[in-house]
Symmetry: C2
Subunit: 407 residues, 2 copies
C-alpha cells in the first residue's frame, strides 16, 4: 500500500474543477465540482446533530435510498443550515442545474456546504458557478488540489491524501480531500470529506467499509467540542480499476477497508493539526484499557478538555488536567494506577507513575511539548484495549477567529 | 426574605480569619478559617470526578459518617489532588493541628483546597498558618470578606451572599462565600463554596435541602466544561437562631430551602460572571420544554459551547451556534419550531422564529449583546418545563491564564 498526497482525481475516471462563484465576500474560491465519467456506487456518513443542514438531508436521501451518484457540488462560505424549506429548495435547484450540465439524473448529484449557519445561499450564484466550472473539469493533480483549496473555510492548508494498492488482480486507488478547522467534534461521521475510488465494490460493502473506518478516524477528532450541523463524508466508487467486484466481507474487502482506514486516518490527523488557531497537533493515546469503549471515552475526554488544550498551547506539562479530564469522562478506572507519558519528535518522558508525579524535569517536559505534534499516553493498567484521539491546542487565535467569525 | 452581601460570619456564632501562610508563591492571602462557637450539623456535596482530591475524601468521611463539624480550614494555591497517601496525610495533620488549637475533635474539622493539581502541600505551612490565624478569628463583616478573598485563585472578585428570613418564631440567617473561575463544570456538586447558618435543623434535612438546591444552582454553571477534582460545597448549621428545629419536610423546611436556593443562585451567578477571563455573564434559558431534564440538557449544552461563548465575546449574534449546540445535546426537539431571543439590560430581540432568521437588525442585536450580562432564551414549544444555566464568554484572557497557569 502506497500513501501519497494526491486528491480526488487520483483514481481513474474522476475529474475536478473549482473557482470563485461569489458566495464568499472576499472573492476567494468557494465552489468545487467532482465528476465521475461513469455512474458510481455512493456511500456516506452524516452528522448526528438533530439540526441537520439542508445538503445533509438531500445527500442522505441519495445515499440511503438510491446508492448511486455521479457528481458532487460543494460550496464554502455558507452552510445552508437552519434555512428551512428555502434551503432544501436550493439543494434541489443546484442538483437540477448540475444534472442539466452533465446529462445525469438530478438524484445522482450530491451537494455539500460549509460556512455560516442560518444564511440562505444565493442559488443563482451556484447555478452560475456550475456553468463557469464545467469547462474546467480535469482529471489532473492540479484540478484536485485547487478543489481542496476551494472547500476551505478557516482551514490554513488544503488537505489531500491518496492510497494505491493491489486488489483482486488490479491496482486500486482511493483519493480524498477534506476540510475541517472549526465546529469539529464529529459523531458517527465527520466534517466535509470527499473520497473517490476506482474500486469495483458493491454499494453495501462500500457503505460498510466507510461506516467502519469513520469510527476510528474522524470520530476520534475534536477541535472545539461542537458537533456540526453539516458533517458529511461521501465516498464514490466508479469501478474503473477493473478488480474483481467486492460483494462480501472477504480478503479483498479487508484490503480495501485497511487502505480506506489508512487514508482517512491521515485526513483526520490533518484536520486536527489544522484546527482553528492551532499551533500543535495533540494526540492522546489510552493504552492498557479494559475495553475499546473505555479507551475511546477516556481519549476523547482528554483531547476535548479546554484546560488541557490551553496547557498544550503553553507547552506546560500540567498533567493534573489530563487526569482530571479522565476522571470526569464517565469511564471507570483507578487514578492511583495510572502512568502518563508525553512524547514527541524531541523524545519521551514519564510524568506520573501510579497516579503521582515522578519528579520529572519540567525543562525536559517543556522541550518535548514544544514540538508541532505532541502525544500524551496514559496507561490505565486494566487490560489490552487502546484508542487514539486527535485534537489541537486552544490558542488566542482560536478566540480571535470565533469572536467575530461572521464579519 | 432579605438578600445581602455579608458572608460566612452573618449568622450568629460564626467567626472567620484569613492570611498568607506561604502556599502561594506571590505572598497573597492563601488560607482561611471558619469556626463556629458551638458544634454544627454538617452537610456537603462533592465532585463526581473519580479523581477526587484528598480533602474531598476527608470531608466525605466527616459529612457522610459523622454529620457534625465545628471548623473549616481552607487553602488556595495547591489543590492537594493526585497526591496519594501523602496528600491524605496532609489533611489528617491539618485537622489534628486545628483540633489542638480549637479544642475540638479532629474528625469535626473539615478541610478544603484549590489550586494546582499534583503538587504536595507543605503541611508545616498549614500548621503554622493555623497558629497565625487563630488569634485573628472574629465574627465581623471584615473577617468574612477577607476570608472570601483568601480562597480566590484566578477569581478577580470575592464572592459573598447572605439571606435573612423569619422562620419558626425566629430570624434565621444563611451566609456564604465561594470561589470559582476555572475548571468549572460542576456535576452533582460544585466548586468551593462555604455556607453557614444559625438555623436549627436536623442533619438529614440540612443535607436534603443542600442536595436539592445544588441541582438548579452550581450544577447549572459551566466556565470551561472541566469538572474539577476538588468541587466541594459545605453547609454548617449551628442552631443558634433559636427557631423550632426542622426535622421533616414541612413549611419551615420549604422556607429554609427557598432561602438557601436564593443564596446559592446568587453565588452560582457570581461564579459564572467571574469565570476565567470572562467579560460577560452568559445566561441560557430554555422554555417550553417537555421535561425539566430536557430543558437542563439543552441549557447546559448551549452554555458549554466554545463557539457560542466566543461569539458572545465578540458581541456577535451568531445564533446558528446556539441551535447547533442544542442539536448535538442529545435532547430531542424539532429545530423548525424553535424561537430564539437575546435579552440584556439594553433590551430584547427575537432572532429566530420557527427555526429561521427573523430578519432582525444585526446592529440592535450587537447592542444587546454588548452588556455585561446577556441572556439567550430558546422556546422549544413542547411543554411548560424550563431551566436556566449560567456561563461566560470565551476570551483571549482565558487562553492567557490557562496556557501558563503554573508559572
Amino acid at each position: 500500500m502506497k500513501i501519497g498526497n494526491l486528491g480526488v482525481t487520483a483514481p481513474k475516471g474522476f475529474q475536478a474543477a473549482s473557482g470563485a462563484a461569489g458566495i464568499k465576500n472576499n472573492g476567494s474560491p468557494d465552489m468545487a465540482l467532482i465528476f465521475s465519467e461513469v455512474p458510481c456506487r455512493a456511500a456516506g456518513t452524516f452528522t448526528t446533530n438533530i439540526v441537520k443542514a439542508a445538503p445533509v438531508k438531500w445527500d442522505q436521501h441519495i445515499v440511503y435510498d438510491i446508492g448511486q451518484a455521479q457528481a458532487v457540488v460543494v460550496n464554502s462560505g455558507i452552510a445552508n443550515a437552519c434555512t428551512g424549506a428555502e434551503g432544501y429548495d436550493c439543494c434541489r435547484k443546484t442538483a437540477d442545474a448540475a444534472a442539466a450540465a452533465f446529462a445525469v439524473p438530478a438524484d445522482q448529484v450530491l451537494v455539500a456546504s460549509t460556512g455560516v449557519i442560518g444564511r440562505q445561499i444565493p442559488v443563482d450564484k451556484i447555478v452560475g458557478g456550475i456553468s463557469l466550472l464545467k469547462p474546467q473539469l480535469a482529471d489532473t493533480r492540479e484540478a484536485a488540489a485547487a478543489a481542496a483549496r476551494a472547500i476551505m473555510t478557516t482551514d490554513t492548508v488544503p488537505k489531500e491524501v491518496s492510497v494505491s494498492f493491489a486488489l483482486g488482480g488490479a491496482t486500486v486507488t482511493i483519493g480524498g480531500m477534506c476540510k475541517g478547522s472549526g465546529m469539529i467534534h464529529p459523531n458517527m461521521c465527520t466534517m466535509l470529506s470527499f473520497l473517490t475510488t476506482d474500486a469495483m465494490i458493491s454499494q453495501a460493502m462500500l457503505q460498510a467499509a466507510l461506516s467502519d473506518v469513520v469510527q476510528d478516524t474522524y470520530n476520534m477528532v475534536s477541535v472545539d467540542g461542537d458537533t456540526s450541523t453539516n458533517d458529511t463524508v461521501l465516498l464514490l466508487a466508479n469501478g474503473l480499476a477493473g478488480n474483481a467486484e467486492i460483494t462480501e466481507k472477504n480478503g479483498d474487502y479487508e484490503i480495501f477497508r485497511n487502505a480506506l482506514f489508512a487514508l482517512n486516518r491521515e485526513l483526520a490527523r490533518k484536520i486536527a493539526g489544522d484546527g482553528e488557531g492551532a499551533t500543535a497537533l495533540f494526540e492522546v493515546k489510552i493504552i492498557g484499557a479494559q475495553s475499546k469503549e473505555q479507551a475511546v471515552t477516556l481519549a476523547k475526554s482528554v483531547v476535548s478538555s479546554s484546560l488541557t488544550k490551553a496547557a498544550i498551547y503553553g507547552h506546560d506539562a500540567n498533567w493534573g488536567r489530563i487526569l482530571c479530564a479522565m476522571g470526569y469522562s464517565g469511564a471507570e478506572f483507578d487514578p492511583e494506577k495510572v502512568d502518563l507519558y508525553f512524547e514527541s519528535a524531541a523524545g519521551r518522558i514519564q510524568i506520573i507513575a501510579e497516579g503521582v508525579d515522578t519528579g520529572y524535569s519540567e525543562e525536559e517536559a517543556t522541550r518535548i511539548l514544544s514540538e508541532p505534534e505532541v502525544t500524551a499516553i496514559a496507561d490505565v493498567h486494566m487490560g489490552s484495549a487502546e484508542a487514539t484521539a486527535w485534537g489541537c491546542d486552544l490558542t488566542h487565535e482560536y478566540v480571535s477567529i470565533n469572536a467575530d467569525y461572521r464579519s
